[in-house]
Amino acid sequence: MTALTDDTLPVAPRAIRDEMIVFVVMALLLASVPFSGIYPFFVMQALCFALLACAFNLLIGYGGLLSFGHAMFMGTAGYCSAHALKVWALPPELGILVGIAAAFGLSLITGYISIRRQGIYFSMITLALSQLLYFIYLQAPFTHGEDGIQGIPQGRMFGLLDLSKPTVLYYVVLVGFLAGFLLIYRIINSPFGEVLKSIRENEPRAISLGYRTDQYKFLAFVLSGTLAGFAGSLKVFVAQNASLTDVHWSMSGEVVLMTLVGGLGTIFGPVVGAFAIIAMQQYLAGFGQWVTVIQGSIFVICVLTFRRGVVGEVAHYFRRSL
């Protein structure tokens, strides 16, 4: 049995320098978006999903755990942030904190439950837990059921930054994304990240070396869920609503798809994948349910022919880790 990410393992020693160059290029490209005439709303949305996919990738790509319920963190953080902003009238920075705290709490609980099983069971449990949460949010009064929380005030961040101005909002979202991205990068390259990778490769061996693998997986789950929550909180300011779609299983499936397309276990793959899938949805919006069919086809094609994903293939070709 080969591990999920065998194909995507770096073929050359990790070249931190390459990765930093690509990171700086990515940051500069994204920073120049407001001057390029590209619709900033689209990029902001893609950035939120990219951060979500990166958080998801931390779990699957480095911990070997496929969560099929990551939308629950985004949705929960979104609802809580939205509630804090609209009903409690908190300033944006505190609203984001409320969302992150909610996702943190949720990931503590769901992680404690789901980490008890491995592999395929882990995926089914996370999916079932997110469905459980979906039904709770469907009935809970504060989420306003099918309508969702709408018309969320964007407010002024730190009393200075007027988030209702698209350009200001764009840079706030970008800074949030880059900070989250660097944090994940730091986690992957830390001693903790190395142990996580060893668990992915061979858990029994990691246990025999004396690592309490359950604790490592639990911590990875909590980090991933909390960061996914951060993405969800940012998204509230972009979309100005929080709705049931963000907690639905199809959203969890989209996150999996983004990461798979970009490349499981690659650093930049989830970002590329998120932009590709969001762009596809944007352009094919008029085709109704055919979008679902196309997404399904991409899943099938990726799994059958293209398991490294876009970035994984590029990295493999240049014998680099990206």
Binding site: M1, T2, A3, L4, L66, F68, I113, S114, R116, R117, Q118, G119, I120, Y121, S123, M124, I125, L127, A128, L129, Q131, L132, F135, I136, L138, Q139, W249, G253, V256, L260, G288, Q289, W290, V291, T292, V293, Q295, G296, S297, I298, F299, V300, C302, V303, L304, R307
Partner: protein
Amino acid sequence: MQALYAQLLVGLINGSFYALLSLGLAVIFGMLNIINFAHGALYMMGAFVAYFLLNLGGISYWWALLLAPIIVGIFGMILERTMLKFLAGLDHLYGLLLTFGIALIVQGVFQNYFGSSGLPYSIPDQLKGGVNLGFMFLPIYRAWVVIFSLVVCIATWFLIEKTRLGAYLRAATENPTLVRAFGVNVPRMITLTYGLGVGLAALAGVLSAPINQVRPLMGADLIIVVFAVVVIGGMGSIMGSIITGFALGVIEGLTKYFYPEASNTVVFVLMVLVLLVKPTGLTGRAA
């Protein structure tokens, strides 16, 4: 009390579907090491095939009960031969992702042509009406679904646990290479197993068509509940899947009566409780 018995019956019916679907999942997982995410979509296809047979071909419910599982089973075997086959030796999770993709495609195609609303499928004449049992009114069709599912489940259990073919199957689950060395065509057996599991899903689809209406997304949410059932019961034992399926259906039915707000979530809550108490599932061995 009338309402309680009615909900118990609904629970038993849902339990039949859970049992048929989780049984198929367990059989497929045993041979292919794949969790078939497309199971819900294929269940839906079973119902649609019955609908087409009736409305386009004038073929009755009784024939659909036989033909729909065969047609969908063949479709499943084609999927296995053209796609799933290539996943042998890869991580389990790729199977989940591939079948999730297949489910999206199938459901998306049906949604395009039939929208999200339900199509009616009428109960066959022979099963219309009901009997008054004194304490409740029992619709004959609903009783039929429960009894027929139970018979099919037990027949499948018998096939796998008590026949020679089943013995080959169990042996191939344990050690395919060795069984192949004895001259058994294991790849063909894998294909047939997938066809059998998928056929069971399609059969559940036909049975549910007159009760739940025929909708493109009828299997999408159901499969997630069935996953929870599988986590609770574990996939180690065929009988375990059957009993867990029926039991959870009944518990869900009781919840609908006593605390309807939780009827959607009770299976998931039970899953959490089982995981906390016995992480391997009720009948499962350590993964």
